[in-house]
Amino acid sequence: MKLKPETTEKIDKLVPRYPVKRSAALPLCHLVQEDQGYLSNEAVEWIAERLELEPINIQELVTFYPMLRTEPTGKYHVRVCRTLPCALAGAYQTCRKLEEALDVAVGHTSEDGLATLEFVECHADCGKAPVVMVGEDEYTGIDVEKALEMAEKMKSGTLPTGLEVHTEA
């Protein structure tokens, strides 16, 4: 498996910090997933070997933790919060609008590979509901109108990214 040099460097720095190697399993899953986009069988085996574990020890993490994935996402990975405070602010309507506008069903990636849409649990920013994450960026107060704007910007490739919190889509 070919990892980017900076990923390998991070891994080499991280593993010895833990008193027990196995503790680095979840961090390594994150790093490899960030590097590769998802965790393939090959990646699972690589992590296991790096930590002197069996592949099943990593596989059981991949199947337990919702953020670890075995398939790549679309260009935009959209996670709409569905729990009660966001729902009270209209998260279900937001999510339905995104499904429609991006032409993708929840839990899937659109055919053109533009977006993966997920409906997930509380993002811990419920005071700014409804909350939507796209990749590592957070967008707050996303009602139906703003959802539509976001979808349009994803389609035209102009969605602003890289800010801490986006209050405007």
Binding site: S23, L53, Y65, L68
Partner: protein, 445 residues
Amino acid sequence: MKHVDEPGYSNDIDCYIRNGGYEDLKKAFAMKPEDICAEVMESGVRGRGGAGFPAGMKWKFLDRKSGKPIYLVCNADESEPGTFKDRQIIHQDPHQLIEGMICSAYAVGAKLAFIYIRGEFFEGYRILERAIEEARAKNFLGDNILGSDYSCDIIVHRGAGAYICGEETGLIESLEGNRANPRIKPPYFPAALGLYQCPTIVNNVETLCDVKHVVSMGGAEFAKIGTPGNTGTRTWCVSGHVMKPGFYEFACADLTLGELIYDVCGGLRPGRSLKAVIPGGSSAKVLRADERFTGKLKNGTAFDWGIGDIPMDFDSLMACGSMSGSGGVIVMDDSTDIVEALANINYFYAHESCGQCTPCREGVPWMRKITARMVAGEAREEDADLLNSIADQIAGRTICAFGEAASWPVQSFIAKFKDEFVEKAREQAARRKEGKDAAKETVLI
């Protein structure tokens, strides 16, 4: 979070130091560790993560004689729906947490500490990593801190989207590189057999920040904030149907639930009336707007409160049959369909059960299915009793308190709003008779 609202306050170490940051660390190092523990005990500070257990007491249970290393773990998993206070501390004042953690680690004798941060806090993770580097560069962390013979390091460890990692023994399993299956207590009390089977202290982000303030002002002074048994401040996270949702820090018992909703949060939307409040994160038992709460407080005082009169502190909310939990106050107005709200909550718990205990693994999804069926047009009048009987068979019969967390919403929604569950079935039957679709379009599920 005294400073975060000040204009120009930023989360870097220079700003923190300009505002007196890390002075308390120096003060702590001039004290004996056991004296800090005594101050924390005297402060009466209770855990801000959910259970409200006194931090000083927890520290006292720490097994110091085992000869094994001691670990400190900061619980920054923040995944109880309705809770967003730890996020604010991490984003806006990360050095306060780090200073609190070093003081705590020094006090309990830990040379390695962890911050277990939920995986979705990408930015929070980067902020903490940077803050730790800054602190290390100034020798507040690392070897021989400030020229003492005490050394300590902090590792920021990211979770990956599982709510159960917030439960302290699940968190420890996760930190060891396993699935976050909680451990059975006894024997696995973290203070005796925690991380790597070593004595471990797990505290919430806000609790560890409080330790810094205890060091700063002394336990006795800290205990003067709030009321006896409910000391210090709490950050209430208000969400749902209020005009100004957000996080607001107050001394315990400094205001009532009514003041929080109407004065601080600007009240409800125009034309709406209050229906229900979940006062301590989605696991806490719901309060009905027209309930009367009567009884006696721990100190013997009798009380007779309406929902708006309840003082916001640990004991008062507990006396009203609920809890202040994680501080997440979820407000629902009269537009809320109660069955849908419970269906939403049940969906969360069914998704998040770790699956170790049969009552939880099987029972919580049953509850989800029943409420989902109810909102889909197939409600039955006996569903309320059925839900209750399932919840009763989960709570108290599981390895961890998730069993209660998942049952309390069901038990309390039914105890307080049974009429609406029964009405749902009748309404659907009536619509069916008229030849209409029994299910209404749903809003919350």
